[in-house]
Symmetry: C2
Subunit: 455 residues, 2 copies
């Protein structure tokens, strides 16, 4: 029986798409940079169907590309050519919300927004939030170990996982549900699947540990002399304060763009080369008290400090950081890099990125901002042709020379396969590859992602 | 060349122990339940020596048992018979303490106490504390994913890992140092090594992310009608308060023993069947305020609540929970089980454990206490013969029937290999075994741990 017939039998006519028009939206990612024709798109409605699909594809020697919300940036969720796309979108049940334990079980295809909506009425949060929340699925977020702005406080998806259910390439099922926070029984397979980008198994269900927000917040923006002073201040605040929610860096050049394009006011009259935004909280009382005490010990210029505890004031300060993306986009089509370095090298990355870029493209302008508490920097490059990859390469080379990571958040996908090898080195990639080959010897799952196909 | 000669050449005469008297302390664990003769004990002083030892042992087909402080409880760090013990104690350098970033690089053989002492002068904490701190090594704590009382707040060792260096069975080196919090470049090998109990690689260095304590604390003990009410109250507090540091359960029977043997006073005049201890904190102001508000919404009996914000008062309340071990030991030699269940089944475990035990040994008495916020329960059984494993089995069977874990903290070692299979099932153990076989096909690393030798 041809594979498509077998797939039709498994999921039903309606959920096996072979017509090019029907397949189209599954074949191109939303950046439109990655696309490829699929043999078929299947939309299983149960774990049994997922297992049967995998067995059928393995028998036929055809690769399977798992796809959630298709919001990735590295081409990991669209076919490279001829694979079967396995869409998890019908596996979207949200069940077993335990309002006492603060846990919920969600199908891989449930969107982040749907899970947030399910959790909030009982006072819980997912602990991770992303702009793509209406499309991004929990399965995809686990597979890519998604992060976002709250990583400093709640960790990435890997840390929110209590339990999981997944299907291996041979159709065998791994299940630890509902799971528990303390569980030392062999290898942490849930943690291994988190960030494995669909190359080891297809995640079908996840049990999430929910979180709660601090009821009272204070936000401060501090002007400082350079990125090094921002890193040092961030470290001292993290040491002095146990309730830190966020530590963000931006520069005066970036703030200038935000003020111009997003009509946000400066935090204080005096301008400084670099800024640190810090957010703290408390369960009761004024969270600004502890923050003010801590700022005092930093010996910062009182004319370069703004603090707010009310909702409107906090929002105003956060705008200075959050509207960077929009402000940068208003200047042109930027090259965007999402990288990470050891915190001890963070200032160096901020300081050296502009000249590294200018060395290969004299007309280019670099704007950096990011999560200084996590070592994660967003580097945007304006004024360079979209097709000129030299500026991207220059930043990634700088990151590697600082012992950093070419992908803080978005993963490797197909886009950064060569960089993975350079970043992690042959011994580490061989160790990863050994796991891949042991679990999926025929290379059925997401072929071409993480590892080169012929390697 | 005989293996012992080769080992002598690698580490030097002084650090290759073959004499039985010299080997003895490395051949028996501190519980004295596990021991076996080693071919030799080697104490490498560098990663190069570790790699050379592994290559020599692989060539000779002799197993290697990595050993840190030898404080485990499941026989994972002493020879089963004829292996080479690789002691990490000389790999104890502590370097690169970054007081701004709150990070430190430590050799696998550094003790927890040494790292705590190195971190504290600059205001940082390791975030994990154990009674065995003077002997337990960081390498061993990573290999067993150690937890302790602060897991609810800071996670287990796996979550404290920024970077690592380790040597595989073939002598190849995996290194991600110093590492960074956000790093999505392939499989999370550091997280995989955490909890792998020395079966995948020998950890030589670790970069730790340090933490800071909340400056102000409040502790409350609340008397409630049963374990179910404790679980529900714990959940509601976790939802209401963002600064929860600990949530602990104990019973009136356990408190009775603590009062008798440790001369600790009752928290309030009224006695209740079960108690919840909760600790919260703040960076400034009175942390008791938010806690008092939250307790009010719980509708608890004011006569069964005690709260303290001063050091002495907090210490007094904590004693009620912390001195359980000592009080139980004063009654006799207990069977001790460290298990975990989904939080939704926690009350059921507390309620059913005594009768499950009594069903197999009518004279036995069960005292339970533990980390209700993590689903982790310590079950102590008094009045049953130390050699009678039926009571242990009865508790573990109950745990499995509740979807729980036979090892919350201590791991599998050689002691629980059969239970691992029952707990995780054949598909999951096969998936783990596939990783082991891919990384260590000859079974050189810690043979007999996690997996049966002939399986």
């Amino acid at each position: 029986m041809p594979l498509t017939d077998a797939l039709r039998e498994i999921v039903g006519e309606r959920h096996c798409l072979t017509d090019p028009t029907m397949r189209a939206s599954y074949e191109t990612d939303w950046t439109r940079r990655f696309s490829g024709p699929a043999l078929a798109v299947v939309r299983p409605g149960s774990i049994e169907e997922v297992a049967a699909i995998l067995r059928a594809c393995a028998d036929a020697g055809v690769g399977v590309v798992p796809q959630g919300g298709n919001t990735g940036l590295v081409g990991g969720s669209v076919p490279r050519g001829g694979e079967v796309v396995l869409s998890t979108l019908r596996l979207n049940e949200i069940e077993g919300l335990d309002p006492d334990a603060g846990e919920v079980t969600v199908g891989a295809g449930a969107t982040l927004a749907a899970v947030q909506a399910a959790a909030r009425p009982s006072g819980w949060e997912v602990g991770i939030d992303l702009g793509a929340r209406d499309s991004a699925t929990i399965g995809g977020m686990v597979a890519t170990n998604a992060g976002g702005v709250n990583v400093l406080r709640h960790g990435p998806m890997r840390q929110r996982l209590l339990g999981f259910e997944a299907v291996r390439a041979d159709g065998s099922v791994l299940r630890r549900l509902p799971g528990m926070p303390k569980d030392n029984t062999g290898y942490d397979l849930g943690g291994l699947l988190a960030g494995s980008e669909g190359t080891l198994a297809i995640i079908t269900q996840i049990r999430l540990r929910l979180v709660t927000a601090l009821g009272h917040r204070a936000v401060a923006v501090i002007g400082l002399d350079d990125a090094g002073a921002v890193v040092a201040a961030a470290g001292r605040l993290r040491r002095a304060l146990g309730t830190i929610q966020a530590l963000e860096l931006f520069t005066d050049e970036g703030m200038e763009l935000v003020m111009r394009h997003a009509a946000v006011a400066a935090p204080f009259a005096s301008r400084r080369p670099a800024y640190l935004l810090v957010e703290v909280g408390s369960d009761a009382g004024d969270p600004g008290e502890g923050l003010a005490d801590a700022l005092m010990t930093l010996d910062v210029d009182p004319e370069a400090v703004a603090m707010a505890t009310d909702v409107a004031g906090r929002h105003r300060l956060w705008q200075l950081r959050e509207r960077h993306t929009e402000a940068v986009n208003a200047e042109g089509v930027p090259h965007k890099l999402d990288v990470s370095v050891p915190i001890g090298r963070y200032a160096e990355l901020v300081e050296r990125a502009p000249s590294a870029v200018a060395d290969v493209d004299g007309g280019a302008r670099t704007i950096s901002y990011g999560h200084v508490g996590d070592g994660n920097l967003h580097v945007s490059i304006l004024g360079s042709s979209p097709d000129d990859h030299r500026v991207d390469d220059a930043v990634l080379e700088l990151v590697l020379s600082l012992g950093g990571s070419v992908s803080a958040e978005h993963g490797i996908g197909v886009a950064k396969v060569d960089w993975l090898l350079r970043d992690r080195g042959p011994a580490t990639v061989a160790a990863m590859r050994a796991i891949k080959d042991a679990w999926d010897p025929a290379g059925i799952l997401n072929p071409g992602v993480l590892f080169a196909r012929d390697s």
